[in-house]
Symmetry: C2
Subunit: 427 residues, 2 copies
C-alpha cells in the first residue's frame, strides 16, 4: 500500500488543491495483468507538469465489452468506441485528459480517426481494435498532432507495472486517483482484475467526466464479458450520482486478455458457466469500489450518502425514487448541514412520480427511524439523530410498504465548495 | 406604488435577512376586488412579530378553479382543496405560514377539518366552500386551536383594501412579497385581476413552497375558470424552477366573485366566448408576473435565467430539454460564475433523453451565437460573451433544428447562498 500523497504535490501537478476528506487512506499497489502493458506521457494538452496521456496495450485475442453515456450528444470518442465494440476484440486503449473532444464536429471525428491510425501504424493492430476516451474541456478542438508522435516511444517503453501511473494520467478535477484490484480463482486458475476510474462531477466540461477501465487476464468471450459488465453496471456506476448531470463522455470498458488460457485455463463462453461465480462477484466488487471512489471524490463532497429504498412496486420504481432523493438539492444541502431533515426526503419521494403512499412511509437515518406511517416517529430523538448526522457516511432508508422493489444508490452532499468549484470564472 | 421596505424591517419580522437583488424596485398599490374582503392576523404559529394568518372572504356565487402539486405525498390542505374544488364555489380562503401541515397523518386531516368548520361557524358558509393552504415546516403537527379563535374577529374586520397585507402574511423564506394586478375590459365592463404568491425554493420544509391566489370580480363559470387556469399554468407556474424540488403543498387557486354581473356584465360560460380574449391575456400576464417573482426570489438567486428551446420535435420535448438545462446544477453554477459555459448546455441537452442531434445544435447567450452546427461559433467572442454574462438577466437559447417544438422556462442561478440557506442546521 502506498500512502496518499501530500496536498503540496497535488497542487504542483495541476490537480485540485485539496484532497477530498473522503479519499482512501492509502492506495493498493496494483499488480500486473498478464497481457497488459501500460505507458503514460506528458503531452501538455492542457495540464503542465503532469501526465495527461495513457496508452494501454493488450495482447492478441483480448476480448472487450463496454458501456457508454446515455447522452444524446455523445463525444466523438464515445461514438468511435461504440462502433469498435462490434468486433469484440481490443489491442489498445488511448486516454487523454484536458480535452474531451466533445462537440467538436467533423474535426472531432478526424482526431479520433487519426489517433487510431497512429496507434495502428505503431503497433500493427487494426484501427477497429483501438479504443479511445477523452476527458476535459468540451467544445475545444483536440489536435491529435499534440500527442500522436508519442505513441512510438510509449509502445516501446510500456510495461505491465504502471497501473498506478495509469490512474493518475486520466485525472481531471479528481483530488485522488482511483484504483481497485482483486485476485480470484476462475476454474482452478488464479486471475486478477484491475480497474481505474476518474470522475468528480458527472460532468464538467472544463474538467470531469466518468471514465473507468477494467482489465483481467481471465479468458472470457466478448459476449459473456458484455453480459457481466451489464449485470453489474446498474448497481455500481449507474447507481452513483454527484449532481445528476450526465457527461457526454462517460465510458466504462472491460478488457479480458485471456492470458490465463496460456496457463491452461479454459475460455469461458457462457454466462451460465458455474465457474464464473467467484469472478462475477470479484468484478462486481471492483466496479463498486471504483464507482464509490468517484462519489467520495464528488466536487466539494464532505459526506457520502447511501440511499436505500425498500418496499417499492418494483426495483425500477425503487431506483427512480432513490435517485430522486439522491439528486435532490434540498436533501443534499440538508446532509451538508448535518440536518436529519426527513421532510425533504418525503418531498423527494413525492416528486419522483412513482407509486408511494404518504401514510405508509417510514424513513430512517442510519438505524434511527425518524418517521413512521406518515408521521414523525413518536420515539424520535433529535439528540441521537443529530449525533448520527455528524458522521462521514450517512445512510438514508425509505420503506414504501407497497411491494418487494428495492434499490440502493450513492451520492455525496452538496456544499458551498461544489458551487465554488463549478461557479468560478472559466479561465 | 410603495417603495420596497428596508432590510432592517425584514429582519425584525423574522423573514430572510437580505432582500433578493432581483426584487422589484417597487410594489403596486393593489386595488380592491369587488366581492373580496381580507383580514390578516398574528397567530404566532412559528414567526413572532409578523402576520402569519390570512383569511379571504368571498361573496356568494364566487366560482373557483385550482391547480395543485403533482407530488405523490401531498399535504392535508392540498387533499382538502382538491376535494372542495368539485363544488365549483368558494366563500373563504385560509392560509397560514410557519407550518405546512404536511406529513402529519390523521392529525393533519383533523386540523384541516377543524379549520373549515371554524370558518363555516363564523361565516355561515359550507365547509366545502372553504379553501385552505399551509406553508412552513413539514412533519410538525399544526394545532388549529392556535388560530381558529381569531376567525370571528377577522371576519368582522375584513376589508377589500388589504391585498398588500395578504401578500405579506403568506411569506416564509421569501425576501419580498409578490403582487400583480391588471384591469381589463370584459364584454364592455371593466374588471380587475389581483394576485399574490409566495415561494423561494420549490420546497423547503422549514420554509418555502409555492402558493398563489388570484381573484377577479369577473363573472366566469367554474369550468371556464378552470380551463383558463390550466391554459396558462404550463407557461407560467409550471415553467419556473428554482431547484427542481417539488413541494408537497404547491397550490394555485383562482377565484371569480362575479361582482361585475351586478354591474350588468354577462356571465362567461364558454371558454370559446370571444369576449374573453382580453381577460385571458391579462390573466396570463398576472400569472407570469407572479411566477417570475418567485424565480427572482429563488434562494440565493443573483441572476434570472430564461431558457428557450426551439426546433424540438414537439413542444413537450422542447420543454423537457429546457427544464433539463434549467435544472442542471452545472449550468446554474456556471451562470452564477458569469461563465458562458455552453459545453454544459450541450451536456444538459444530451441528458434530457429527448431527440437532439449534436451536429445540428446552435446555442445562444443573449443574442450571441456561441455554438453552431456542433462546433464553437467561428465568430465567437469571449469578450462580448463575458460582458453579457455580467448582466442580471441571462437568456439561453438552444436551436435543435429538428422540428417546430418550442418552450421557455425560467430559473435562477445556483450560488453558495443557496447552500447556506438550505444547509444550515435546523434549529
Amino acid at each position: 500500500m502506498r500512502s496518499i500523497e501530500a496536498r503540496e504535490n497535488m497542487v504542483s501537478t495541476g490537480m485540485s488543491d485539496q484532497i477530498s476528506p473522503l479519499a482512501p487512506k492509502s492506495y493498493p499497489d496494483m499488480p500486473e495483468i498478464d497481457g497488459v502493458r501500460i505507458a503514460t506521457a506528458e503531452a501538455g494538452i492542457k495540464y503542465k507538469g503532469r501526465t495527461d496521456l495513457l496508452l494501454m496495450l493488450f495482447d492478441e485475442a483480448t476480448s472487450v465489452a463496454g458501456v457508454f453515456t446515455t447522452s444524446k450528444c455523445p463525444s466523438a470518442p464515445v461514438d468511435f468506441c461504440r462502433q469498435n465494440l462490434k468486433s469484440g476484440t481490443a489491442r489498445a486503449l488511448v486516454v487523454n485528459s484536458g480535452n474531451a473532444n466533445a462537440f467538436t464536429g467533423r474535426r472531432g471525428i478526424e482526431t479520433v480517426e487519426q489517433t487510431a491510425k497512429a496507434v495502428s501504424d505503431v503497433t500493427g493492430c487494426g484501427t477497429d481494435e483501438v479504443f479511445i476516451a477523452s476527458t476535459g474541456v468540451i467544445g475545444e478542438p483536440l489536435d491529435a498532432s499534440r500527442f500522436m508522435h508519442l505513441f512510438a516511444d510509449m509502445t516501446k517503453t510500456a510495461t505491465g507495472t504502471r497501473w498506478n501511473d495509469a490512474g493518475r494520467a486520466i485525472m481531471t478535477t479528481d483530488t485522488y486517483p482511483k484504483y481497485a484490484t482483486r485476485t480470484v480463482s476462475l476454474g482452478g486458475h488464479v486471475v486478477t482484475i484491475n480497474g481505474i476510474s476518474k470522475g468528480a462531477g458527472m460532468i464538467a466540461p472544463d474538467m470531469a467526466t466518468m471514465l473507468s477501465f477494467v482489465a483481467t487476464d481471465a479468458a472470457i468471450s466478448a459476449d459473456v464479458l458484455q453480459a457481466l459488465l451489464t449485470r453489474h453496471v446498474g448497481g455500481t456506476f449507474n447507481a452513483v450520482t454527484v449532481d445528476s448531470d450526465t457527461s457526454t463522455s462517460d465510458t466504462l470498458i472491460l478488457f479480458a486478455t485471456g492470458a490465463s488460457a496460456k496457463r491452461g485455463a479454459k475460455t469461458i463462453t457462457s454466462i451460465d458457466d458455474a465457474d464464473l461465480a467467484g469472478f462475477d462477484a470479484a468484478l462486481g466488487e471492483v466496479m463498486k469500489s471504483l464507482a464509490l471512489q468517484v462519489v467520495r471524490d464528488g466536487e466539494g463532497a464532505r459526506k457520502q450518502i447511501e440511499v436505500t429504498v425498500k418496499g417499492g412496486q418494483s426495483d425500477v420504481s425503487a431506483k427512480r425514487i432513490a435517485l430522486a432523493i439522491a439528486n435532490s438539492p434540498l436533501v443534499k444541502t440538508a446532509v451538508a448541514g448535518e440536518d436529519a431533515n426527513w421532510g425533504r426526503v418525503v418531498m423527494a419521494v413525492g416528486k419522483a412520480g412513482e407509486p408511494a403512499e404518504r401514510d405508509l412511509l417510514s424513513i430512517y437515518f442510519g438505524d434511527i427511524r425518524v418517521a413512521h406511517e406518515g408521521l414523525r416517529d413518536p420515539a424520535y430523538s433529535e439528540e441521537a439523530t443529530s449525533a448520527y448526522m455528524k458522521g462521514e457516511d450517512i445512510a438514508i432508508t425509505v420503506e414504501l410498504g407497497l411491494g418487494e422493489g428495492k434499490a440502493t444508490v450513492w451520492t455525496c452532499d452538496l456544499t458551498k465548495e461544489y458551487v465554488a468549484i463549478n461557479g468560478d470564472y472559466r479561465s
